[in-house]
């Protein structure tokens, strides 16, 4: 089998699995909402990986944009209008705008310094969410709102009460977002990001304004992370400050590294492992994070290219 056919085959398999997920989730001991969570967190991890795996820049504060998307969506429904599409748009605009402003401030930093400052900014939003009780609901989270049925003009789709309908809405948005990211990575612009990841000095001396390109990559990454955030809030009809906490940022990094940050689909695989382990192990023990941690350490030690990287090497040999 040639590399290209193998690639097409695995792509077809991934989409087939995602398209049919609500119909076999129950059979393997899951439930539809769990599948939706895999998609939502997978999208967030893939968005982070656009920056981490394909530009070589580590953000340790992507919970900020994820959480801003989530709060934006919840507050739009609670305070503005009972519309799901409007909630998504407002959440995405809020998260992307914050990413654009913060990105412009930090784009000259590198490595650990960049990561530290992204954490710091994320914690700012975390504390605002906790302290600004009257608007955000504080520590208890933002309650008293829920997603609304989609009105298509000629009819309504009941995404509120029908789990499967909401899953497919998420899948459509996921497909658009992932398709756009894949397209970008294959474009001349995407190749400049790979160039920066591979060798920043060489890229600079090929005439690239590095800061501008890293900023753009950061903003694109924040855009898709905040889209994931809006869907996360809509999924549980609730949002609390945990979504903004630095540990959430860490979880996204874990998902990306676990699945394989050099592969496009790796973070989705990482998210699936993370979400399923969390769901399964946490019903047996409260220390579920230690199991994830152990698994993470094993992967990093023995398969530094993540689960997908390991599978790919097997396929080659």
């Amino acid at each position: 089998m040639s590399a290209l056919t193998r690639q097409r085959l695995s792509l077809a398999l991934i989409w087939l699995a995602l398209l049919t997920m609500p119909y076999w989730m129950n059979a393997v001991g899951g439930y539809t909402e769990l599948g939706t969570r895999v998609l939502v967190l997978g999208l967030a991890a893939m968005a982070l990986n656009f920056l981490l795996g394909f530009t070589g820049v580590l953000s340790f504060g992507h919970a900020a944009y994820f959480g801003l998307g989530a709060y934006g969506a919840g507050m739009a429904i609670k305070y503005l209008a009972p519309s799901t599409p409007l909630a998504i748009v407002i959440g995405v605009v809020l998260g992307t705008l914050a990413g654009a402003i913060i990105g412009a401030l930090i784009v000259k930093l590198r490595g650990v310094y960049f990561a530290m400052v992204t954490i710091a900014f994320a914690q700012v939003f975390f504390f605002i969410a906790i302290r600004w009780n009257a608007v955000t609901g504080g520590d208890d989270g933002l309650t008293g709102w829920h997603r609304h049925a989609l009105d298509l003009g000629f009819g309504k789709i009941d995404i509120l009460n029908n789990d499967k309908a909401f899953y497919y809405l998420v899948l459509v948005l996921f497909a658009i977002a992932v398709g756009l990211m894949a397209l970008l990575l294959r474009s001349p612009f995407g190749r400049t990001l790979l160039a920066i990841r591979e060798n920043e000095r060489r890229a600079r001396f090929l005439g690239l304004p590095i800061e501008q390109h890293i900023w753009l990559s950061f903003v694109i990454s924040c855009l898709f992370a905040s889209l994931a955030g809006t869907l996360f809030a809509l999924l549980s009809n609730f949002i609390d400050p945990h979504a903004l906490h630095w540990s959430q940022s860490g979880n996204f990094v874990i998902m990306a590294v676990l699945g394989g940050m050099r592969s496009f689909w790796g973070p989705l695989v990482g998210a699936a492992i993370f979400v399923v382990l969390q769901d399964y192990v946490s019903s047996h023990t409260a220390n579920w994070m230690s199991i994830i941690g152990l698994f993470f350490v094993l992967v990093v030690m023995f398969f530094p290219r993540g689960v997908l990287g390991m599978l790919r090497r097997k396929a080659k040999s």
Partner: protein, 250 residues
């Protein structure tokens, strides 16, 4: 008009004077070598020309324009490309991709999120042309990080050439190479100079390469110009011989 005019530039690092009042003029089509003992300030001098850091004093003109304060990427856009003493490439991309990136940048496509079929075809053609010229066609799909030192160097030179530069700066292009690789790379440089009429400034330690290729040679010692002239002038200069043998000039 001279292509490159370096006027009396100096660079201090704290109390260390790495480059001290060096002046250099390079005419279009010339191949100029910069030689000198270790620690003479050759690489610092190159870094000043390419904008890696600004000079402490002095002025640099490129094609008549003052570029002393310009950042590196703007100098590149004006037509100045360079290679590094330690080869700088994109190790986990293949040869084709390594060359494709500078070709796209040079075509003004760096921010494009898509490509038309015809633009894509034009770029592929140019990449193929560069691989041919650099003798890399058979290695097109190999990761550059896995190639031999000589092929990596050839890739780096072709990446710079992909920018269609008016001036190419080569920092020790044959450093750390065996005889065959050294021969191949100097033949490549000669081709670029003679066939493409490219203006080149190179730093080099291998004297066979220098005397074989250069039109003119500048000798640096302790950050200052010790001598300048044709290869014959330099070969017969007592000052230069003294500097290389470590004796005080008589």
């Amino acid at each position: 008009m001279s292509l490159l005019q370096v006027q009396n530039v100096s660079r201090h690092f704290g109390s260390l004077i790495a480059v001290n009042g060096v002046t250099l003029t390079v005419e279009p089509g010339e191949l100029r070598a910069v030689i000198g003992p270790n620690g003479a300030g050759k690489t610092t001098f190159f870094n000043l020309i390419s904008g890696f850091f600004p000079p402490t004093a002095g002025k640099i003109l490129f094609a008549g324009q003052d570029i002393t304060a310009l950042p590196p990427h703007k100098r590149v856009i004006m037509g100045m490309a360079r290679t590094f003493q330690i080869t700088e490439i994109f190790p986990e991309l293949n040869v084709r991709e390594n060359l494709r990136i500078p070709v796209e940048i040079a075509s003004g496509l760096r921010l494009r999120p898509w490509l038309s079929k015809s633009a894509d075809a034009r770029i592929r053609e140019r990449v193929a042309e560069l691989m041919e010229l650099g003798g890399l066609t058979e290695k097109a799909d190999r990761l550059v990080g896995e190639l031999s030192h000589g092929d990596q160097r050839a890739t780096e030179i072709m990446m710079s050439l992909a920018l269609r530069p008016r001036l190419l700066l080569l920092d020790e292009p044959t450093a750390g190479m065996g005889d065959q690789e050294t021969y191949d790379i100097s033949r490549l440089i000669r081709r670029l100079h003679k066939d493409q009429g490219l203006t080149i400034v190179l730093i080099e330690h291998d004297m066979r390469v220098v005397f074989n290729l250069a039109d003119r040679i500048m000798v640096l010692a302790e950050g200052a110009v010790l001598a300048e002239g044709t290869p014959d002038d330099i070969a017969n200069s007592e000052v230069v011989q003294a500097a290389y043998l470590g004796k005080a000039a008589a």
